[in-house]
């Protein structure tokens, strides 16, 4: 389970990082590479959130609690 979450995070950080790269390098000119990367970032983040809630509902994970 942790590895799946990690995989999601790698995707999120990759898309956020590529948005940063495009912001640093696309000076003007109306390039849409940055906004596209950020859109992917948002989509994957929402997917991760839904996945965590779904896993909780299925009983695959439980929140950190007092043991």
């Amino acid at each position: 389970m942790n590895y799946i979450i990690l995989l999601f995070f790698i995707f999120i950080i990759y898309s956020l990082g590529s948005a940063l790269y495009y912001m640093m390098n696309d000076s003007g000119g109306g390039s849409k590479r940055m906004v596209k990367a950020l859109t992917i970032r948002v989509a994957v983040s929402i997917a991760l959130f839904v996945f965590v809630l779904f896993s909780f509902w299925m009983g695959w994970i439980k929140p950190a609690g007092v043991a």
Partner: protein, 290 residues
């Protein structure tokens, strides 16, 4: 090869020295106020005021210079590089706090419980101590507040995650609107993002009140309380700053600033907001779930 004429050389400015005076007054005052000196507190507040005045004055001047066409692409590039270093410092800042959580949770607390090759550490120091996370039962709670429980991931934190993720979506809508020359969409998306940011902060305050008043979970609640409040607190501070920056961007958007091919101010703030959003997602998973 660029000629020297390509470089923009600004006029002499009094903002840096004013900022330095503000910083000295604020930090000197803060140090002095720790010793119970009232004049120190006054100096701290005054210094903070000077810094705020400097930030708005200086950035206002930069915005004005940008809008009047003073800047060329070389200046644009220098802004981007400056933002890059700022982001680097932010990543390092949060890496330190996540690192502290990792160290406490995965290494030092289990060692105290006798994990790894530290069997005698546990037996000699606190033989009854069992290492569990969240660390509610401390080995020696004499100088700490023992919490009755922790914040449930399922309640406010989940709602906060939903709020922040939605704000990421509304900001992306604003971004696309800007790229597609839809000024109304840009303004509407920014307003929605700001409202969601404020809701997030309100929920965070409610969570802290719950922690302090009902759960006795405080900054003084040992390593769990410390890492919890340092991580979520500094994140909250970043959301506050992000919201203020978004308000400035909204004001500029209303005034007709930013074009689809030139809008670095918007891009920088948008990226910052997305970054803060991802940090929260990391916090939500690492602090509340795992």
């Amino acid at each position: 090869m660029q000629s020297r004429l390509d470089y923009f050389v600004p006029e002499g400015s009094y903002w840096p020295i004013l900022g330095s005076v503000g910083m000295a007054a604020m930090l000197g005052g803060f140090a002095s106020s720790l010793h119970g000196n009232t004049a120190g507190t006054v100096s701290m507040i005054l210094g903070f005021g000077i810094i705020i005045f400097m930030v708005f004055g200086w950035i206002g001047q930069v915005i004005n210079e940008s809008e009047t066409g003073t800047y060329n692409l070389q200046v644009d590039k220098s802004f981007r590089i400056g933002m890059g270093w700022f982001i680097f410092s932010e990543v390092m800042f949060f890496a330190a706090f996540f690192g502290a959580l990792f160290y406490a949770r995965t290494l030092s607390v289990p060692w105290l419980g006798g994990d790894g090759n530290n069997l005698y550490t546990g037996e000699v120091l606190w033989p009854e101590f069992k290492s569990v996370w969240p660390l509610i039962q401390m080995p020696d709670s004499t100088n700490f507040t023992v919490p009755k429980g922790i914040i449930e991931a399922w309640h406010i934190p989940a709602l906060n995650t939903l709020t922040l993720l939605t704000s990421g979506a509304t900001l992306t809508y604003a971004h696309w609107s800007l790229m597609n020359k839809n000024r109304i969409g840009l303004i509407g998306g920014l307003i929605a993002t700001i409202i969601l940011g404020v809701i997030f902060l309100g929920l965070q305050v409610a969570e802290y009140m719950e922690a302090y008043q009902h759960l006795d979970l405080k900054l003084t609640s040992g390593i769990y309380g410390s890492t919890f409040f340092m991580l979520t607190g500094f994140h909250g501070l970043h959301v506050t700053l992000g919201t203020i920056m978004l308000i400035v961007i909204l004001m500029r958007a209303i005034r007709g600033h930013f074009r689809e091919d030139r809008h670095f101010g918007f891009e920088a703030v948008a990226w910052y907001w997305h970054f803060v959003d991802v940090v929260w997602l990391g916090l939500f998973i690492v602090v509340y779930w795992l």
